[in-house]
Amino acid sequence: MFKKITYSFIASFLALNSFAQNKSGEIHGNFDLNMQSYLEDEIIGAEAADEIILNNAYLNINYTKGDFSTGLRYESYLNALLDFDDDYKGNGVPFRYAAYSMGGLEVTAGNYYEQIGSGLIFRSYENKGLGHDNSMDGIRLKYNPLKGVYLKSFIGKSRTYFTYADGIIRGADYEINVNEALFLKSKTRIIIGQGLVSRFQADNNPKFKLPQNVAAYSSRLNIINGGWNYSGEYAIKLNDPVGSLTTEENNYANGSALMSSLTYSKRGFGIVTEMHRINHMDFRSERAQEKQYIINYIPTLSKQHAYTLLALYPCATQTEGEFGAQVDVFYKIKKGNLLGGKYGTKIIFNLSRINALNGGNSYLNDNMEHTPMFISIKEEELYFKDLNIEIHKKINKKLRASGILAIQSYNKDVLEGKTPGTYGVVESTIAIADVSYKIKKGHTLRIELQELFADGGEGSWSMGLVEYTISPHWFFTAQDMYNWGNYEMSKQLHYVNINCGFLKGTNRIEIGYGKKRAGIFCVGGVCKEVPSSNGFSLTISSSF
């Protein structure tokens, strides 16, 4: 494989000279470094690292000339930060590619990221903060033969840490923008698409007859008319014994996923309604592997919160089975009246609710014919619920304020994979105030106060944050999270963090010191469990 890639690389490099481009090539990239020291802190349960300092760093380099591009990423884990899996070890160039496009055909050899539809059957992507990277290594073709017609196909192996999984992944997808393809002048726009992904992995199992080729396919539809937008996607995964192998039993149940959204918006107002139903829809690059091998993506059906205590108990999709619905409303009260004030007022409402599938999922039932009730809400076990409302208001030229109220239910046993009945459901009520005040040109003081009153889990929390920023170069923040309501007196602790950053040009440097609590951290729809820590940190982000 590697040989192949190198040859195609050379070929594309040679082809480069024949491109009639007067422009010279360009080289750009970016560099990120995260360094953290780990001190022992018995009180919060933080362990010291043997290395004292751990370090993750990435350097991306991209070269482009006309329609040709190539690039690589150097990754360094010496050793990986404690909240990363320690399989990220050492240095390497796990990402390199070459690509060119001509006459509507785009060819990529080497590593690439790709997604089919919403990702229900396939998505390879990276999130450095969460230590997630399942880039593909292989060949990808994209072709745009006619206006409004998009075809793509790919083959490759999926990355896990510094290696590639056993399975060979093949995929194909088309998308047709009906209006563009048929030159329709209709006000209603229709986009349709279908994708297919198949994994090959040899059957070396003496006991079971395992399917060597496992397929998943999906169809999607998007209809847009004026302010209305409907989007739906349905996916099926066939006879995949992933993760269900034991010595005596196996399971070949199919999986399925449906997601659907309807939105409407006009100036000053927007509403989003979404639902999804997921049944045994994990798809992995290798049979019976850990979650690091997942190659599809089921979007979590809850709001992604930015405030710490709102995200203390985050929702995570249960790919084995769940049913959920979500509504968002965005409204801007016009300026000039009593509620709107001089600048207008923004109100954002969000409600999401996720529960178990009726009768369990097809996998648990060990029966391909198992057909639970399609939609069932009331009688099922609650996984997650979040009702929240935000108000944002500019009061005068110097003062801005936001307030948020939320009520959340978090099924800790299910969402964190614990034994049923261990923790139960954590019920919490959260209130947040965020005020920023402009002291003088470029100088702003911002204060955040957060309260979480909880029944269950670690009990109640308070948090305060003070931030002073001097545009465009400096920022300073100090925050304290206090678990005053912990049921164990000895765990009623403060977690103090101090950060200071400097920005100039394309460089950003941040140093910090503080204690982090152990918990679940989620960014971009992926979550990881991180240990508590105490120490200094240095973050550098730079681009060229």
Partner: protein, 164 residues
């Protein structure tokens, strides 16, 4: 083989590093809010400056930046002819919220979607917000990471420099 690859890469790198000072937009497709797609190199503003701002519906400072500029955007346009293009990096989890949020917020920006981060990676954006300023030849002349209150003043100064 790995060595061959790396030395080849190094050759390309060093043979071009001497001319590689200007910076143009990479040829990457992004999605439009009405289901179409556009290559980012096709952005047009009749030779006037363009601001490209990467944001997401879940990113507080991003929304603060774009909402703050929205209040003065008309003045900026009158004064400098600038156009702001907001690239949302929302994934399929929150992509459906982009258009309603933009409409409800009364933004007059051109908004595009980059759901799997293709443009983000090609432009070296590792965190949002990240703002780029393009001159009349659509070459990137200035960029800024993050947003704190008041950063919009520096952006306007940079735009004015181009408009002069």
């Amino acid at each position: 083989m790995k060595k061959l690859f790396l030395s080849l890469f190094a050759t390309i790198l060093f043979s071009t590093i001497i001319f590689a000072q200007i910076r143009t937009l990479p040829s990457i497709d992004v999605k439009t809010l009405d289901g179409g797609s556009i290559n980012i190199t096709e952005l047009e503003n009749n030779g006037q400056p363009i601001v490209i701002s990467f944001w997401a519906t879940w990113c507080k400072p991003c929304k603060k930046e774009l909402n703050t500029i929205a209040e003065v955007y008309e003045d900026w346009q009158d004064e400098t002819g600038v156009k702001l293009v907001a690239i949302s990096i929302d994934e399929s989890r929150s992509m459906a919220k982009v258009s309603p949020y933009v409409n409800a917020s009364d933004w007059d920006y051109e908004v595009y979607l980059d759901p799997n981060g293709d443009l983000k990676r090609a432009m070296g954006v590792s965190a949002v917000p990240h703002t780029f300023l393009l001159d009349s030849k659509k070459e990137i002349v200035w960029q800024h990471k993050g947003y704190v209150d008041g950063d919009e003043d520096e952006l306007l100064e940079q735009i004015k420099k181009l408009a002069d």
